[in-house]
Symmetry: C2
Subunit: 334 residues, 2 copies
DNA sequence: CCAAGCATCCAAAACGTTTTGGAAAAACCC
DNA sequence: GGGTTTTTCCAAAACGTTTTGGATGCTTGG
């Protein structure tokens, strides 16, 4: 029962062509008719049907927002919500709709990610929360559907990425700890399947090199980004290398886990053990001591991804790999 | 140039009607032709165009997810992400797509929320993060577009809601503190514009009554859900009513703020002051002492909202007000 | 006054599906 | 063998727009 363009046309005594052109601001309709049509459209409360428009224009103006798996992911909440907000806001400004897609959904429907998106005629996709070992990775990179991936350095003809400069982030952390006088700086990394892990390890090593400290394998432990994993990381490092006086954790959650374990073992933070995290989640300001960390600009990451994608779509810009500067935020823990 | 149903029809030497019926599992197509068509569709990698289908079927199978304002809302991240995940997962299971809408976007486009949704032919809307004093509230309730609101008790012909049973949640907290021996129990509430605030105050009062304690106005302070607001609340209550031995805060963030202020003032928690929060955010397990709180089942709230909406759409079920049971989670703080 | 240009309008095709109302052929019943 | 049913298929309409390619009448320039 919704009112169509035909209803407006009949009420105005003109053809639907004229109504369409009047409403879309074309030149070849006289001022009086245009005014009359606008009034009638208003009076009838006419709303153009986006579906019909999409069909004939062959443009849905819709972007898919692919989240690796919505339900499960306990970690990354803090991270993802802000990125998502950034993506959404920018796309909305640019006149695009955003439709959610989860990898699990596509699987349920027994169609590939790409098929899912083509059926809906998405014009592009923004991908977040995906892992290096995710089977979807290949599909995303190779698919002709324009895409921008967040936090994974995938670059191809139709696929760009946005991530924080994790190498420099880790270097900042190491340099800062060095400047605070530490000479035995440990590193607790996240799991290897996360793309950021390799970069942060590299940054840690480079950081040590630039300040002139040797790299000690016993000072590195690979964990899993979780709170418990951080505590575990602290214990392992302390056991394998008792002289450690500072630990850089690849996530705030791990840093908090490690810090609590240290406090529980009677160490003082930062006097006996300095702690630096990564991400700058809300929690960092709420724990005590407050957590020194390397901050990522999450909202901006989302906005940047959105802009890159639209650039590719509307101005044929080539996909790029964009690194956003991290920010060292010094608080009480180190 | 995506392949259409016509391409498949030509390749198979049949009409597009037959292709459509074959692919959609209708009876009146012979097994051999069906098999042939399926093979050819597969070979050509045919994907039905959802836009065209939506147009002719007059059904988009798309639900709008209205978030009050995405960009700004600093508080509520934890809350919203889980709810959002629940909504999405359930709707996806039920075969619906989810499109994001922010109140700010609609404003930018100078169309009302309802117009925004009608243009896109959303079949229903789920609303979250909206406040009592939001101008959109009226629109949502009165609009003929089926909707379910989260955390706001709006009920009408086309509008249901899902929220935690805040009254009982508050009662649980008070009863628990009473059972721990407390006889002077304070309450720091959130701002009055949040719909949940009225309920929590009511629950607090009812809780007092059921355990036989008098209601003291000096034991209630209205704050703003924030960390600082919690600290402020603690100070005000302590000043106006020095005998207070336990405080129930209407949010975990306030509880933590209040608790930290208490600790800073030399009080022991829970010995000198017992503290109970509301929400069960991640942080509650990370502070020390860990926080006793009233937990909400956020993911379930999302799922329930999704189910109610689809019930209204597909089975003409009347909109309801559903209250989800809260859960008292006893930890160290009280 | 004629040709050309301009302003204003419209009929019809197109977008890619689903669905309706048969039609043709085959199978069945007595 | 004639009627009826069943099976298998299809042409055409419909969904609500945009866009193409004129058509009509009026104005203008020489």
């Amino acid at each position: 029962m919704p009112v169509t363009i035909r209803d407006v046309a009949e009420a105005a005594g003109v053809s639907i062509t004229t109504v369409s052109r009047a409403l879309n601001g074309y030149a070849d309709v006289s001022p009086e008719t245009r005014k009359r049509i606008l009034q009638i459209a208003e009076r009838l409360n006419y709303r153009p049907n986006h579906v019909a428009r999409s069909l004939v224009r062959q443009r849905t103006q819709t972007i898919g927002l692919l989240v690796s798996d919505f339900g499960k992911s306990r970690t990354g909440h803090h991270f993802m919500f802000d990125v998502l907000a950034g993506v959404y806001e920018r796309l909305a400004e640019l006149g695009y709709d955003v439709s959610l897609v989860s990898t699990t959904t596509a699987q349920q429907h027994l169609v590939s990610y790409l098929d899912f998106c083509t059926e809906r005629r998405f014009e592009g996709v923004i991908v977040m929360g995906i892992r290096l070992d995710d089977p979807y990775v290949h599909e995303v990179v190779e698919s002709p559907l324009p895409s921008v991936v967040i936090d994974l350095p995938l670059l191809s003809d139709h696929c760009g990425y946005v991530m924080t400069d994790n190498i420099n982030g880790a270097k900042f952390a190491v340099r800062h700890l060095f400047q605070q006088g530490h000479r035995h700086i440990g590193f607790v990394n996240g799991y290897a399947q996360a793309a950021v892990s390799a970069d942060r390890l590299r940054g840690y090593k480079e950081g040590l090199r630039t300040v002139g400290l040797p790299f000690e394998p016993a000072l590195v432990y690979e964990s899993d980004f979780s709170l418990a994993g951080g505590a575990q990381g602290f214990r392992e490092l302390r056991q394998g290398y008792p002289d450690v006086t500072a630990i850089f954790f690849a996530s705030d959650l791990m840093a908090i886990g490690g810090m609590r374990e240290a406090l529980a073992n009677g160490l003082r933070v930062p006097e006996d053990l300095a702690v630096v995290g990564f991400d700058n989640i809300d929690l960092t300001e709420l724990v005590s001591p407050t957590l020194t960390t390397v901050g990522q600009h999450r909202y901006e990451m989302g906005m940047t991804a959105a802009e890159m994608l639209i650039g590719m779509l509307e101005r044929d810009e080539p996909p790029q790999g964009r690194l956003l500067a991290p920010e060292l935020i010094v608080r009480e823990s180190g």
